[in-house]
Subunit: 174 residues, 3 copies
């Protein structure tokens, strides 16, 4: 039951502890890996060869492209002004809110315990530091950290050997 | 077993994954909803029509009033100087600490990955931003964010139509 | 299955919810307590009489000495530049990264939702505030808080009666 029939699982998706996850209505790409205590909601997409680490929550409206690393305890959000109830006091249901989408572009990495506020785009190959709170768009290849997250570097100057993105075109499917 | 017999559950409480929660000795009000990977300890209270989202921890001494939204991965605490052991080196037990209580007043919302330090009161209709660390009281209707959390706005000026609290008296039971 | 045969459990280790943890290849010392929704990876060590609270992730390369308190939702990390894929586009495997170790010295306490960046040492009896992001070494007995974590006090001046560490030598095994 914790992996609903409504999940579209690609080939060779690794979920070592299927009884300790909660996945429903989402799409998981080929060869991706999903850790323990992960929840992935409906209408979200995880690309191919991604790692979604333990304790992470991926909400409706999030699109994670190919080759993305999501650390442990990362929380995505889809509503800047969440509320439990409607103005007439009833419990909110789906018709009472609109989802604000978030996109994580290919080969980006998001550090553990980071929080991603709704409506942002995290650029290709970017790195979000552990514990950061991302409140605005992150440019391609940028390193951001802090609360709120600010640019502190560029991944192209940190890796010993720059990532040959052109070689990765097949994986990215573009 | 993960929902102990000691839990006092109200009517129509929704717990979609009862095998993936850990609730004991707490009170959950009518029509509230509890997500996956949530732990709620004894001597804590959740009001009516609340949402307690996935990955959240509600500790002993926390009182959550009616109509409150708690995001994902929110951590409450009840001890500013926690320790594993007593001064004589033994493992601490309940008699070795005193719980410092926390109250979240009605219709407040707490964003995902927020941390609430013990002993604070979060005001009615207030909003705690995602990833914030709340270290002092939050006034009614205030919007707070950051580490430590500071006031950045007022919910009464953000919602298109102010919440008619007077209409909600029945729900709040006051 | 969530407690692998590869775990070396000491005497009187308390794991109230063995079906809600994910432990493998690690060592847990005598009389320690492990909460729900905790993952502890291989090649990590938890000492004696430690508390590892719910929702916490202890990764490979972390050494937690005796008498340490780890709060709820604490995330350790072991790689400052994590990536999902190798430069040739394949999913990373163990041979593709080197673990950067972290040590938490005896009687330290780490507050809930804190993040510990890889490669740091947290000193004896130190206190890491809730929600802090630790990016550098923490001196013995220091109190640190914030993002990034900075020294804000000294535990020896906060406790009513200083901890008699000399009496605790037996427990610490040194």
């Amino acid at each position: 039951m914790p992996i609903s029939d409504t999940v579209r699982l690609g080939d060779k998706v690794a979920i070592p502890h299927p009884s300790l996850v909660n996945l429903y209505g989402c799409t998981i790409g080929d060869e991706s890996k999903i850790g323990a205590f992960v929840e992935i909601q409906k209408n979200s997409v995880v690309g191919t060869r991604c790692k979604i680490s333990s304790h992470t929550f991926v909400c409706e409206g999030v699109v994670i492209e190919d080759g993305v690393f999501i650390g442990h305890g990362v929380m995505f959000t889809n509503d800047r002004y969440p509320r439990a109830t409607t103005l007439d006091g009833g419990l909110q249901t789906e018709v009472d809110w609109s989802v604000e989408g978030t996109r994580v572009k290919r080969f980006a990495s998001i550090g553990s315990n980071a929080t991603v506020v709704s409506g942002v785009t995290i650029g290709e190959g970017a790195l979000v530091g552990a514990g950061a709170v991302v409140t605005r768009d992150v440019p391609d290849h940028a390193i951001v950290a802090g609360v709120p997250a600010r640019i502190i570097g560029d991944m192209r100057q940190r890796v010993e050997e720059p990532v040959p993105y052109e070689l990765l075109g097949d994986l990215a499917g573009t």
